[in-house]
Amino acid sequence: MQHTRNQDTLVGLFVASGIAGLFFLAMHVSNLSSFSDEDSYTITAKFENSGGLKVKSPVSAAGVKIGKVTSITFDPKTYKSVVQLSINSKYNTLPDDTTASVFTAGLLGEQYVNLEPGGSDTYLKKGGEIEITQSAIILEKAIGQFLFKSAAEEKK
């Protein structure tokens, strides 16, 4: 009888450590703890060019992650890229003249949306739109312009 009881304890320990392992993966390794969709609000921003931005790319202000990109669609009327940003509701005091720009983390890092708050007293609400946007810098375009410029200078 003693033997079976020991066995039961070990089985209990095994199941508990397995669940602890999975729990550790969920809470400590994945992004489950950082944001859930329930306590967030959505705003839109229209970019001339959203570059390599992807769904789930981070949205940050002053270097701190405050939300994520939830959808990117092409508007066939204005020929712009419509990006939906889901912002954590803790940060509901973004002014309505906030500037949104697509930046790259490091030279080759992933692209993210950076929000630069303006000075207005009215805040962006749920479903609001950011009007001042700055497109992604396309590296090929920048290099092309630079080459053209230096070639033109050489001719002079």
Partner: protein, 259 residues
Amino acid sequence: MDFIEGLGRSSRISFNKLGRATHFLIQTISGVMSVLMRPRLLTKQLYSVGVMSFLIITISGLFVGMVLGLQGYYTLSDFGAEETLGVMVAASLVRELGPVVSALLFAGRAGSALTAEIGLMKATEQLSGMEMMAIDPIKRIITPRFLAGLISMPLLAGIFSAVGIVGGQIVGSGLLGVDEGAYWSQMQASIDFYDDIINGVIKSIVFGFVASWIALFEGYDAIPTSEGVSRATTRTVVNSAFTILGLDFILTALMFGDH
């Protein structure tokens, strides 16, 4: 002509075996309710299948994580991207290595033991003895072991990945000087709960299902001699490895294909 004849015969034999295996699986699953009424049968098998595999899984997980930490560091430091070490270690463990390596170890450690046990039961006519006593050997012997394998596998894979990630952190930030905060925060930013962790768990459940099925069927189907049991044990390990790796490819293509 001999070749074609042989081909036909061997394919008929393998389809026949697949059919018997499917029949066996259906019988096994139909016994689930009666096992759940007697949980003691299940805990006993959880002990011999799960607890006995715990140590090998933990130690292998630790070393796999540490090796990933070292190799990842050497490669990533060429690009000056050591901070993403955590992402690399966690993504490879949670998506692939955790489920696959723990399933292979499981097939070697627990699957071979199951086959040998059931093959010997058959060879010593214990299974026929049970039938004589009007006890269904599938419900009494096979189903508890099958369920134990199915439950243990995701838990073992979870332990493997968790220990491996900690092992990678020990090597990465303990020995090689990657920033510990960056290791964890980059990992949390890139690993998605549903895309990565849940898919990894689904993989390990599928592998547990397949590995236990193969091990139990090979034992049940073994030729009841000592040679037959030894062959069945070998087949268990070889077939489980093939099936796990093949299924892993299919599951990966299905799960991670849309990125």
